[in-house]
Assembly symmetry: C2
Homo-oligomer: 278 residues x 2
């Protein structure tokens, strides 16, 4: 009989490598880059397509969220997916479902603007992890706070899964790829790239000058003003530590600018690591 | 490429069977019967010994909970354990830990008397499931509400684990075996069996008579009075549906009497399926 005292030694040792890309479908090149990364790293790649109702608030876009399932399957297959997991809502949820709450990193920003959102994300991702049982999981950095929540979920609940956070893919004009971009009309689509341009200008300013805390806040407010002048309603624009998802004034490796803004009826989010600006 | 739509088909298929008996140590014959059941059913049996701080409320007996680790190891090995998992609290818990909440079945009885208890249980059991990765898990029916919480946890979060609920073991005089029985002094130890005797008498009365709802409540109150006369402080005594863990008046397969009572400073719980009384 053996006595084991560490989690690492205890974890089950699987033999075939399985990569996992959880999605809500409406796949774009960002998703496909995750599938390609999983295909490179693993013998088998599973892509889930599930528009998860519990991460939408009542007033949000659950009903109109795009669901081009057959096109998604074609694209996922072309990118290297071996299995699509596409359950129904009834297959996934019981009545009075068990809920997982990841504290602190989920409290501000998206967590504040979208109450219950990250409980829904954490719960469905834990379920999918148990169902798919992957070795590696792939998420896009566009959803930066989600990445922090999933990192803590994996660590806190001892999922034996390697988390891979992949770079945001962008359109030629800088707009972060998102399934929700298709909600934009032509005029809004022309305006939307100002988000990333302003993030870049702001990050460069923060990186190259030694600003006092007060001046960081002044810069953030100036950028909010620029965005408002372009017709964007900024929900938040903040300088954060990307692991803690708390505001910071210190420019270091973890330091990101994060933003959520409305353009017409469409809600867009983006982020930029300050040291990546140029 | 394959498209899968059910959880069952998606679950990872493991090849070596592993049974798991989660415990807080201070093993008694009840625990050993779980280990023996696991040994019968599986190629390998893992027993965890971890006094989980998050399932104790601040005023409870965490510090004085018995920890006879070496004796536990000897007994577990003799009963058939292959691996003991005995992590430290630091190995198990980060700061600001993620929390799992199983609603409804955890709300009343132990959940009401021990706020936060079942969140602590659900969270540590989910962590242990991820760490040990068992095919089958074994719990004792003495903790009836815990069994209901774990059943829903496994189902809601899609753990691919077969739950085995094993009968309560009793001393010759009927007292349910429990690590907390050693807190009883000699005089209390002589009184304690009245709990099970009264459950049996009450269950028989309920089973053999066609009682109206009002009369069920009268019988429950009469039993509380008998127990009080014996020096027990009853925290709850209720007729419940063991799956829903809600009060019921209907005598069926699921129907149990459950009780928590204090004897001196020791808190004892027990239960009896009504149809099992004789």
């Amino acid at each position: 009989m053996k006595i084991i005292r560490t989690v690492r030694e205890m974890q089950f040792n699987r033999h075939h490598s399985r990569g996992f890309v959880p999605t809500m479908g409406a796949l774009h090149l960002g998703h496909l880059s995750l599938i390609e990364a999983s295909k490179r790293d693993n013998e088998q790649t599973v892509v889930s397509i599930f528009v998860n109702p519990t991460q939408f608030a009542p007033h949000e876009d659950l009903a109109k969220y795009p669901r081009p399932f057959e096109l998604d399957c074609e694209q996922a297959q072309a990118a290297g997916a071996d299995i699509i997991f596409a359950p129904s809502v009834e297959e996934m949820y019981p009545v009075n479902p068990t809920l997982i709450h990841v504290p602190k990193v989920s409290a501000l920003f998206e967590g504040e603007k979208r109450p219950g959102h990250f409980d829904g994300v954490a719960t469905v991702v834990a379920k999918l992890f148990n169902i798919v049982n992957p070795h590696r999981a792939y998420f896009g950095k566009k959803d930066l706070q989600q990445c922090a929540v999933i990192r803590k979920l994996i660590s806190d609940l001892n999922f034996d899964i390697e988390l891979n956070l992949m770079p945001t893919l962008r359109e030629a004009d800088g707009l972060a790829m998102s399934s929700r971009n298709q909600y934009l009309n032509d005029a809004e689509r022309l305006i939307a790239p100002v988000i990333y341009r302003e993030l870049g200008a702001l990050a460069l300013k923060l990186k190259t000058s030694q600003l006092a805390s007060k001046d960081v806040d002044v810069c953030l407010l100036q950028s909010e003003k620029v965005l408002a002048e372009n017709g964007l309603k900024v929900e938040y624009l903040s300088l954060v530590d990307a692991k803690l998802m708390e505001p910071t004034k210190v420019i270091d490796d973890n330091c990101h600018l994060i933003i959520a803004a409305r353009l017409g009826t469409t809600r867009l989010i983006d982020n930029l690591r300050v040291l990546d600006s140029n």
